[in-house]
Amino acid sequence: MSVTLTVNGSLLTLEAPPASRLLDVLRERLGLTGTKEGCGEGECGACTILLDGVPVNSCLVALGQCAGREVTTVEGLGDAQHLTPLQEAMVTEGGAQCGICTPGMLLSAEALLREKPAPTDGEIREAIAGNVCRCTGYQRIVNAITEGARRREVRP
């Protein structure tokens, strides 16, 4: 069975079982390993992607439910040579420690900043409440998102 969806701007038709987890398809079929598996139960947010612009846990979404929809993974933000202002801020503010939560944090933050370009600390904390940092470096992540928001104003 085939499923047609858009991943990071590219329209793809995949021959894959539609009941597969989107997470597995992204990682194993498309090689998009930026999306991490943490708990596999929707608790930790490491597998957060944007589905039509909204953060969801890709471990809880069936590939077949994504037909005709737009999926954005961390690979769809920027790359090593062309970081987005938010990614840049995550690096310079020390928001990334061991790194496993970083892709999910970036996507939750990206969705927030698209809706609220200048979020408060409280809004940032609520937006990333579903993303667990096992290093517990939350303050630096919040700082990075604040700084990312500031830099986006200058260079969206």
Binding site: P17, A19, S20, R21, V56, C59, L60, A62, A127
Partner: protein, 311 residues
């Protein structure tokens, strides 16, 4: 692609509600199992922890997450003319929420925020944004967990469920929906099309308190949903729903009866404690203990009653 044989599940996306109902009827008649998949926030987790199933017995997974017939939020009522007092405002009594409406849609709906703030508060607390964006009321109801936040809020609001099959539609009060732990009157050929709520007046006092290990994502140790109408120091409507204190979400019937029986000022804390303890039957489990749950259940209801006395 390893989780509990997920890729092996047959999967189908129906065009519309009639096609879904036909499919359900045919499969139910043949004794075949069907999973109606909306947000997947329970189903995928169960697959993750359950032992792998064999291909021969795998149910058909039917994606209902975007089915038109299960979407939409509406207020049934009438709009006053601009000349009348309060003109151009909608006077409505019944809130109807499609079964596959997500918590995120609920919390962002201005009508829900204004007329049913209890539901909006629950939707904001039920899980983090990623869960809010996927989870649905019908999914919460069909899973039948006694810890269900959404069901607790609907219990307090004395919601009615609109169930539909090819045989027709029927309305079932939530209080009559569950028959035991994760068991309900929902027939194999039926689905939960919508939830209907007879709204209390705007501004009616309510409570939503979720007690868990952290703000986001935690499954409730105990949660209390409550809504009341207080006139001259007396409750004329009192709805309570409590999570994680019984085999199903608890309606606290003795406590409701006490609260409605006489002026609030005449109800002693000891009476509230006694009725709450009679209404709950918590257990020790991975999230909490029966003793702690009893303590919290009494504290939450007492706190809400104190607030009502001050109105």
């Amino acid at each position: 692609m390893s989780v509990a044989g997920l890729p092996l599940h047959p999967f189908f996306t129906p065009r519309d509600l009639p096609e879904t109902l036909d499919l359900l009827a045919g499969r139910a008649a043949r004794g075949e199992k069907t999973v109606l998949l909306a947000g997947g926030t329970d189903w995928f987790v169960e697959r993750h922890v359950a032992p792998p199933e064999t291909a021969g017995t795998l149910p058909l997974v039917v994606d209902v997450s975007r089915l038109d017939g299960l979407g939409g939020i509406s207020l049934d009522g009438h709009t006053l003319d601009g000349d009348e007092p309060g003109g151009d405002t909608l006077h409505a009594d019944t809130l109807r929420i499609g079964g596959a409406v997500t918590y995120l849609e609920l919390r962002r709906d201005a009508r829900v925020a204004a007329r049913c703030p209890l539901l909006a508060a629950m939707a904001r607390d039920v899980g983090a944004l990623q869960i809010q964006a996927r989870g649905t009321l019908a999914g919460n109801l069909a899973s039948g967990s006694p810890a269900a936040d959404g069901v607790s809020a609907l219990a307090a609001l004395d919601a009615t469920l609109l169930l539909r099959s090819v045989r027709g539609a029927r309305r079932v009060p939530l209080a009559g929906f569950y028959t035991g732990y994760r068991k309900s009157v929902l027939a194999p050929d039926e689905l939960i099309e919508a939830v209907e709520i007879a709204l209390p007046p705007a501004g009616a006092p309510y409570v939503w308190r979720k007690v868990g290990t952290r703000q986001a994502q935690a499954i409730s140790k105990v949660a209390l949903a409550g809504v009341a109408v207080v006139e001259d120091g007396r409750c004329t409507r009192l709805g309570l729903g409590m999570a994680s204190v019984a085999p199903t979400v608890a309606f606290l019937p003795a406590t409701r009866a006490l609260g409605l029986s006489r002026p609030l000022a005449g109800i002693a804390p000891g009476e509230i404690e006694a009725t709450v303890l009679a209404d709950v039957s918590p257990i020790d489990d991975i999230r909490s203990t029966a003793a702690y749950r009893r303590h919290v259940a009494v504290a939450l209801v007492t706190g809400f009653c104190e607030e009502l006395k001050r109105r």
